[in-house]
């Protein structure tokens, strides 16, 4: 376990995992989109416009999950001084921000035909927008501080403070009257009888797993980049540069 916490070993392990993770992600995306866009029937009220949920719902779930990963990485980095955890937090932020933006944009496009408006300031939509700003704040804060240790610490504190927003997003549709509907799946009673018809639910679940693996694939790619950037003065990175003819030219 500790062996892989060293950036050098993690770099090699991630390099071996990425092609497999990427391949499974791609297959799941193809299967999920095929089932969702061709096989699943149109909805009794919304017609075909409900199909945007196959992107919207996994994006929204992952926007919160990635934030928890980012804050968790920040906490571990802060307390145990593990560089890899700091890199996980830094590498997660742009992925989470993209997923949050994806959830907001797809939700807005769905809202126009379904609700009759692109945007309302209800508790669910507003708290998800705050999540997007938290990601952007994290990225901006880390970019503003040059020293990697201080940058990681500042980012971790911001990420941890923002964790308060996650339960607010999740429970906003329960605590307050919102225009956004409550969850169709997820609560205990709804596992037994979800309010989504099975042929519509299955592509949604496949897409969710695809988004989950997509995050880890991109995370590993980004973390490898982080590792190379931070360890660029070490011998083993110099070795990689020497062994790779394409990059040798750009680094004299």
């Amino acid at each position: 376990m500790y062996k892989y916490a060293s950036p050098k070993n993690f770099y090699a392990l991630a390099g071996r995992l990425i092609p497999w993770l990427g391949a499974v992600t791609l297959l799941l995306f193809i299967a999920g989109l095929y089932l969702g866009l061709y096989v699943a029937p149109p909805d009794y009220q919304q017609g075909d416009s409900y199909r945007i949920m196959f992107i919207h719902v996994p994006s929204a779930w992952m926007s919160m999950f990635v934030y928890m990963m980012m804050a968790g990485g920040g906490l571990v980095g802060l307390v145990w001084n593990i560089k890899l955890a700091d890199m996980l937090a830094t590498a997660s932020a742009p992925i989470g921000a993209s997923l949050t933006l994806s959830a907001l944009v797809t939700g807005s496009l769905w809202g126009r035909p379904t609700w009759g408006t692109y945007w309302v300031w209800d508790a669910r939509l507003t708290s998800e927008l705050i999540l997007f700003f938290l990601y952007m704040g994290f990225i901006a804060l880390q970019a503003a501080i040059d020293d990697p240790r201080r940058s990681a610490r500042a980012g971790a504190v911001l990420a941890l403070v923002g964790v308060v927003n996650i339960p607010i997003i999740h429970f906003s549709v329960v605590w307050w009257n919102t225009l956004h509907q409550p969850a169709s799946i997820g609560s205990l009673g709804k596992i037994v009888s979800p309010s989504i018809y099975p042929s519509m639910l299955h592509p949604l679940l496949i897409m969710s797993v695809a988004f989950f693996l997509f995050y880890f694939t991109v995370l590993l790619i980004r973390m490898r980049g982080e590792i190379l950037a931070r360890e660029r003065h070490t011998g083993w990175v110099a070795e990689i540069v020497r062994a790779t003819p394409e990059i040798r030219g750009t680094h004299p």
């Binding site: 009794y44 307390v79 308060v164 607010i168 409550p182 309010s195």
Partner: protein, 154 residues
């Protein structure tokens, strides 16, 4: 206690205090964070009836009257109290009797709600049209998804 553990406790303690503080703030804002009021709340005087506000509930079945292409009258109910609504404009696709709506506007002197925006609320149910049809006529195919609202929780 190791300094590392002290640090962990400080962070966890800090987060706990922050969580409690935000929950207290959110609780204090509870009424202001409400997107709409139910007819029961409006008739009990809990809504700011002198300014613009939103009322939400189900469109009562059999009350939708379209006088021409744009003017529409219907009754919004929470299955307890109800309020008549008048609206002039284009209705969202999902607007229909028995469905949830949120109307923005103000009450006039006769207790009628003059809406300048009507939004449809989605009921978080997804099923094919055939299934919805068979639910309406139970002697047909067996239904797998329950779509009949027994009660409406706003």
């Amino acid at each position: 206690m190791k300094p590392r553990h002290k640090k962990l406790f400080l962070i966890v303690g800090g987060l706990a205090v922050l969580t409690v503080a935000s929950l207290l703030i959110l609780n204090a804002f509870r009424n202001n964070l409400v997107f709409y009021f139910t007819p029961t709340q409006v008739l009990a005087g809990k809504a700011p009836i002198h300014s613009e506000f939103r009322v939400g509930g189900l469109v009562e079945k059999g009350t939708v009257k379209k006088s021409d292409g744009l003017n529409v009258d219907f009754v919004v109910t929470d299955l307890n109290k109800s309020i008549p609504v008048h609206y002039r404009g284009i209705l969202p696709d999902l607007f229909r009797a028995g469905q949830g709506v949120v109307c923005q506007g103000r009450l006039n002197a006769r207790g009628q709600f003059i809406a300048d925006q009507v939004l449809a609320k989605h009921d978080a149910k997804y099923m094919p049209p055939e299934v919805a049809q068979s639910l309406k006529h139970p002697n047909g195919a067996t239904a797998q998804v329950d779509s009949t609202p027994q009660s409406y929780k706003p």
